[in-house]
Subunit: 127 residues, 2 copies
Amino acid sequence: MGGGAARYPRDLAAGDGDPWNLGEFIRLQRSLANLSLRQLSELSNVSNAYLSQVERGVYRPSAHVLKSIADALKLSAESVYARAGLLDEEPAQRNVGVEEAIRLDERLSAEQKEALIRVYRSFTTRS
Amino acid sequence: MGGGAARYPRDLAAGDGDPWNLGEFIRLQRSLANLSLRQLSELSNVSNAYLSQVERGVYRPSAHVLKSIADALKLSAESVYARAGLLDEEPAQRNVGVEEAIRLDERLSAEQKEALIRVYRSFTTRS
DNA sequence: CGTCTATGCTTGGTCTACCAAGCGACCTAA
DNA sequence: TTAGGTCGCTTGGTAGACCAAGCATAGACG
């Protein structure tokens, strides 16, 4: 742990690109946390080899790995998912929609949900 | 499209299990939307073969596929991710945290972020 | 009966996410 | 100089996500 940050030919110093793709984003967050690939690897239980490939854009990590990385970097999973294009937008919208709310309600049976949705549609659909 | 819903030995009628695992959940939502495997397949650009396996719990789909399915079923990606165990909890928490907010701010340079975080920590950490 | 269409399921294979092991470059200490 | 440490990166291999094609069943219509 002693060290300062050493500089390497293709090291973090090369972070000139825009951090709009996932790899650059993760690399930036990692550097802001002052973590090496192997340190982040240990924190996230993801191999340093794969982390390197992810940061360089060789592979697109699964959500499971993304979540581990997010936890290790103390980022919310939602933020990282949004960067990965797995979530539509910024975590700002909280519109669920009537139909989805109905379908997700666990106290309703399937038949009750169908009936509710049918009625809801009959109210909202102009024939 | 004419048809009513046909019943098959291991068909939707067998939806007696609790919809707490992802497969059962997707199958339930699909049946509530009155979609066949192939219809959902076309809407989501996921093969019906794979959808069948996902619903039966043979495979755990990637987030990309999950998002496609969520869109096709008109569910929010967050809800489905939560079911898949990819999100920590219900979409109810809106705590971002100061450090994360800093790191995600695009108008700050890396140095500015580091400085801010350092100051923030100096305020919040008891020595 | 036979044929058509729709359903969900199974199979064989391809692609890629992911890891263990190792490499070259760089630094510091003896 | 050599030895030991860390850095990021590359390579070979394995497991599983994912699909195209085909199967079996069931209803509708002739």
